[in-house]
């Protein structure tokens, strides 16, 4: 239009200069020039009417007449607050930018309130996201929220009336009153959030009003207390009965209740939650969702009088002992949970001591062998002369026991550490792969039963063997597993050798580290087994033990398992497979035999004893078949790889473990 006005103007000017035209103005007046031409009230691009906000506010901004009457006679609220709009983030927009169906003023027919929030925010962001001034950068957040909203239950069609969604933008946001970040409008919007949600969710609002959160927000105006969106999220809202909602809500409790969430995540309940499952108790299961109150409130679900009832929601047979369970027990809190603290310190010292000792042992050993080898000393196989004669070390039963033990242990480590390291992505992936938390539980317990069965079977066999030979059984004989003074001397001499202060000690049938490997599971089986059984059967346990034993059991089960996992997959692997004399592996536990030279080197005392006694030949066998060798190598390789993988996962979990 400006060009038209300009060209008309030029012509008028020229005409006036020529003195040849005078528009007759005798009796007429024209409408004010500042009114412009009617055509200027239309957009030259679209042909659409331009409706200035002032025009809308003549009626909608009149605080004397805030309501009008619909065509059917019913009253309708039409007032909009001018100052509110103008100070809102939408203050610079035209009313019709959002109220796109309004094309005539006065409205020719009852206007349909159709506001295209989504489209406009998307388009505006697409248009301005690369603006250098960043004026529109908040729209990035808005668009994320839109994406979330579109996934949410609110964006789904209403069940009974598919023509509209459950809730749309302006059901919650007053478009006329969206404040800038940090504005009073936003603060008011936050405090008003429960009422806004309560427009639809009436029952929930009624409950919320009675809660600690509700009282703080609605009565005291405390904007630090939780409003609906703090727990339910603002836009990514899922139906309350879905796992998504339950998980998000529980997660969101921790935004304020950090310590409670930290300790919750240490508990089995929290670990399950963190893996993405809702099978165990979430915050609202115990504390009540909308009804959340302090424990001193007699109507609170966690009040001492109500707590057992609360536990029985899941643990149907829970008894009084459950009440002494510490749902938020903190093993680092010496003051409040000294028992738990004590067990943690003990277990950690144990782990530290054992690992420190053995890793030093490993490193020195490695150092020594490498040094010796570089000097051409030590045990070097003659590779040009294949081993033909082997010494039988393990009978079939032992080999099977070890194999099953290895498998069961690895399964236990894998399934168990997913809980311990529930914060890791790998843990979640493993649980999902295994078929969920319940399936994982079944697998873990199955493996535990197998493990314990083998352990007990071995005990039985060993005991019966000893019983049968009780007359002649040499408790400290050359093939005995019972630790003797020689083992301690060997250990001492070994360190001397490591440090170059003596020769490598000569061992009998079992070395001290082999004896350690044998006896350690006795301790482990006791600690892990008992704590595992407690955790396995909480209802039964509570018949005889106080609730806090669950806390202790959970702690020691995890710590001991951790110790075992790390020890087996590092120290045991080194001692058996990775030390240079054996590297890359020893298949003896699956073939049951070792080359006679190797036996001679590692167990010289026993070798000499057997030669002296003339019994060596009884133990000598042929080289295992090629098939046997290959199978043993394969199984060993797989198990070593699996063990190293587990070790890696465990280390990842440990390093990333949140405090």
């Amino acid at each position: 239009m400006p060009s038209r006005i300009a060209s008309t103007g030029v012509v008028c000017l020229l005409a006036a200069l020529l003195g040849s035209i005078i528009v007759p103005v005798a009796a007429a007046t024209t409408t004010d020039a500042d009114q412009g031409l009617m055509i200027d009230h239309f957009d030259p691009e679209t042909g659409k009417r331009i409706i200035p906000n002032e025009r809308c506010l003549i009626c909608h901004g009149d605080d004397q007449q805030k309501t009008d009457v619909r065509d059917d006679g019913s009253p309708v609220q039409i007032f909009v607050h001018r100052e509110q709009i103008e100070s809102s983030v939408h203050g610079s927009l035209q009313c019709t930018s959002c109220h796109v169906t309004i094309d005539r003023v006065p409205h020719r027919e009852a206007p349909a309130v159709i506001v295209g929030c989504v489209e406009c925010h998307r388009e505006t962001w697409a248009e301005h996201k690369d603006d250098p001034d960043g004026e529109y950068e908040r729209l990035a957040v808005v668009n994320e929220q839109i994406d979330s909203y579109l996934q949410s239950i609110h964006a789904q069609p209403h069940a009974l009336d598919q023509s509209h969604t459950n809730a749309t933008c302006y059901d919650c946001h007053q478009g006329h009153n969206v404040g800038e970040l940090g504005s009073i409008q936003r603060a008011e919007f936050r405090l008003n959030n429960p009422e806004v949600c309560g427009d639809c969710h009436e029952a929930q609002l009624d409950e919320y009003r009675t809660s600690t959160h509700g009282k703080l927000v609605l009565e005291d105006g405390d904007s630090d207390a939780a409003v609906c969106s703090d727990c339910h999220t603002t836009h990514d809202i899922a139906p309350a009965e879905t796992d998504k909602a339950k998980l998000a809500i529980t997660q969101n409790c921790g935004n304020c209740h950090e310590a409670a969430q930290r300790t919750y995540f240490k508990s089995y309940h929290g670990q399950v939650h963190r893996l993405g499952y809702t099978d165990a108790a979430k915050c609202h299961d115990c504390h009540g969702g909308h009804l959340v109150k302090g424990e001193d409130d007699p109507t609170s679900e966690i009040h001492a009088d109500n707590r057992l009832e609360n536990c029985r929601n899941c643990h149907e047979e829970a008894n009084e002992n459950f009440l002494s369970f510490w749902p938020h027990g903190d093993a680092h809190d010496r003051e409040n949970y000294p028992e738990l603290w004590g067990f943690r310190v003990f277990m950690e010292i144990l782990i530290f001591a054992v690992m420190a000792f053995f890793w030093v042992h490993v490193l020195l050993w490695l150092f020594r062998e490498l040094m010796d080898r570089s000097q051409g000393k030590g045990f070097v196989e003659d590779l040009s002369k294949p081993d033909l004669v082997y010494f039988r070390r393990f009978p079939v039963v032992w080999r099977w026991i070890h194999f099953l033990f290895a498998i069961a242990t690895m399964v236990l480590i894998l399934t168990g550490t997913t809980l311990l390291f529930s914060h890791t992505a790998w843990a979640k992936a493993v649980v999902e792969f295994l078929g969920g938390i319940r399936m994982e539980g079944i697998i873990h317990r199955t493996a535990a039963v197998i493990w314990l069965s083998i352990f007990i079977a071995h005990l039985a066999i060993a005991t019966s063997n000893i019983w049968r030979k009780r007359k002649t059984f040499e408790w400290f004989g050359s093939t005995s597993m019972v630790p003797s003074m020689k083992d301690f001397c060997d250990l001492r001499d070994m360190f001397k050798w490591f440090l170059g202060r003596g020769p490598r000690p000569q061992f009998s049938h079992w070395t001290y580290w082999q004896k350690f490997d044998y006896w350690a599971p006795f301790w482990g089986a006791t600690v892990i087994g008992i704590s595992g059984l407690i955790l396995f059967m909480p209802d039964k346990t509570s018949l005889i033990l106080p609730g806090w034993t669950f806390n202790i059991a959970n702690l020691v089960h995890a710590e001991e398992a951790l110790l075992a996992a790390i020890f087996l997959n590092s120290v045991h692997f080194f001692n058996v497979h990775f030390r240079p004399e054996r590297f890359p592996m020893s298949t003896a536990i699956f073939t049951g035999v070792i080359p006679i030279d190797e036996f001679k080197h590692d167990h010289r005392l026993e070798y000499e004893r057997l030669v002296e006694a003339g019994e060596l030949d009884k133990h000598l066998v042929h080289r295992p078949s090629r098939r046997m060798s290959l199978a043993a190598s394969f199984i060993t390789t797989v198990l070593i790889m699996a063990g190293l993988a587990l070790l890696t996962l465990v280390l990842i979990g440990l390093v990333t473990l949140p405090r």
Binding site: R4, T8, L14, I21, E45, R108
Partner: protein, 431 residues
């Protein structure tokens, strides 16, 4: 809901812009175009004003023999005393304010080859385009015994407003109670088809108040006339038409209404069937194109053939014939038609000056008649050019006369609108 699209918007804006940009190149090029308009009636005045309005760079000269314009429309109200003659007289100063050079002179010839116009005053006006809007002339010899001199002295035609109108008015006023007025209506085509019948109505309205026993007769050369049904309705309602006492009689040609001769001395009209004697006689003679059209060699038969898209003469290029003199079937010879045709011709001339083809023409005619007190009627039509028949045809489904038996409010409003029509036509042509 109206969808005012970008397309229509741009067209409208473009049309408006044309007001400015059309003149601009002419100014720059210094090629001032000259248009001479002959005749200061509705057609001529409208053309002169709109030429200046559409392109102020065009030099426009209007040549008219009379110093002022006296409108024929509404002149019947002078006969009834509803208005005085001076309310029909308008100055050409309005056109002068638009930059039109108004020359009082009589055109004696147009040279379509040399493209100039000669006047009785001895002047010659060169032109790029010439608009001839001479109105009608009378076939004086059609009724024996009638002539221009008799018309001026005793038996007025009053078909050009001015002294003729006043003469007729004076005669009606002077007529004794119970007197008889005769209006001789011409055969088709003639200017202002409903005019004779409105005239009878207006005279009857005067008589109803001042000479209730007087009679008004129309001797018609036709068997039907414009808005006949509505006139009949109005006359019946207001003047007892159809009864023995009717103030108005209409004698169709079939009933002997056609008049062959006038005996001015006895005020007797000699018809084919019978003779008619009256106190006041108004003869509206049969008509043809105005004299200038004949002088400029623009006539074929009685009227001037034109290209109906532009109103350029079919006989001579560069000359445009507007209004009553042109042969513009099926448009009636009316003020509104001339006004409408003038705008079409102007648009075509301006387009031609800018080497553009003329747009498709559009025409409107509206005509109000005041039958009596609070009884107005109208006829309206919107026309387009039918290229196939080269006829200006009413757009089917549109136009027509006021509804029969309309409410008194509507009839009354049409009187008010008739007066508005009058003011606005005058305004649009010369103010």
């Amino acid at each position: 809901m109206t969808d005012l699209t970008r397309r229509t918007f741009i067209e409208a804006a473009g049309g408006v812009t044309a007001l400015g940009t059309l003149g601009f190149p002419s100014l720059v090029l210094g090629a001032t175009r000259r248009v001479v308009v002959i005749g200061g009636g509705v057609g001529g005045c409208t053309a002169a004003k709109y030429l200046r309005k559409l392109d102020p760079a065009i030099s426009v000269t209007l040549i008219e023999s009379k110093p002022t314009y006296t409108s024929c429309f509404m002149s019947n109200e002078v006969l009834s005393g509803e208005r005085t003659l001076d309310t029909l007289v308008f100055s050409y100063d309005g056109l002068r304010r638009y930059g039109v050079e108004v020359v009082q002179d009589t055109v004696v010839g147009v040279d379509p080859v040399a493209k100039n116009v000669q006047t009785a005053g001895g002047n010659s006006f060169g032109y790029d385009a010439c608009i001839v809007s001479p109105g009608v002339g009378f076939k004086w010899d059609a009724i024996a015994g009638y002539g221009e001199q008799i018309a001026n002295e005793s038996i007025p035609h009053a078909w050009y407003a001015g002294p003729q109108t006043q003469l007729l008015r004076d005669q009606i006023e002077a007529m004794p109670e119970g007197g008889h007025v005769i209006i001789v209506a011409p055969p088709n085509p003639f200017k202002c088809p409903p005019g004779p019948y409105e005239r009878a109505s207006q005279i009857a309205m005067y008589c109803k108040h001042h000479k209730p026993r007087a009679k008004v007769s129309i001797l018609d050369a036709k068997d039907a006339f414009s808005k006949q049904g509505l006139y009949t309705e109005g006359w019946t309602k207001l003047y007892g038409y159809g009864t023995d006492d009717s103030m108005i009689q209409w004698v169709s040609a079939a009933e002997g209404g056609a008049v062959e001769e006038l005996d001015a001395s006895t005020r007797t009209l000699i018809g084919l069937v019978e003779d008619f004697q009256a106190d006041v006689i108004n003869i509206i003679p049969p008509q043809k194109a105005g004299a200038i059209a004949f002088a400029a060699d623009l006539v074929e038969g009685d009227w001037c053939p034109v290209d109906k898209r532009t109103f350029e003469s079919s006989r001579h290029k560069g000359i445009y014939v507007l209004g009553d003199a042109s042969s513009a079937s099926r448009m009636p010879k009316s003020a509104y038609a001339a006004n409408s045709q003038a705008k079409v011709a102007v648009a075509a001339i301006v387009a031609g000056f800018h080497d553009r083809a003329p747009d498709d023409p559009t025409f409107v005619n509206t005509c109000y008649s005041v039958v009596g007190e609070d009884f107005g009627i109208s006829v309206a039509a919107v026309y387009s050019l039918d290229a196939a028949t080269n006829m200006i045809e009413p757009i089917p489904g549109s136009g027509g006369v006021s509804p029969a038996n309309a409410s008194p409010e509507i009839r009354k409003r049409e009187v008010s609108y008739a007066h508005s029509w009058f003011k606005n036509v005058i305004n649009d042509m010369m103010e």
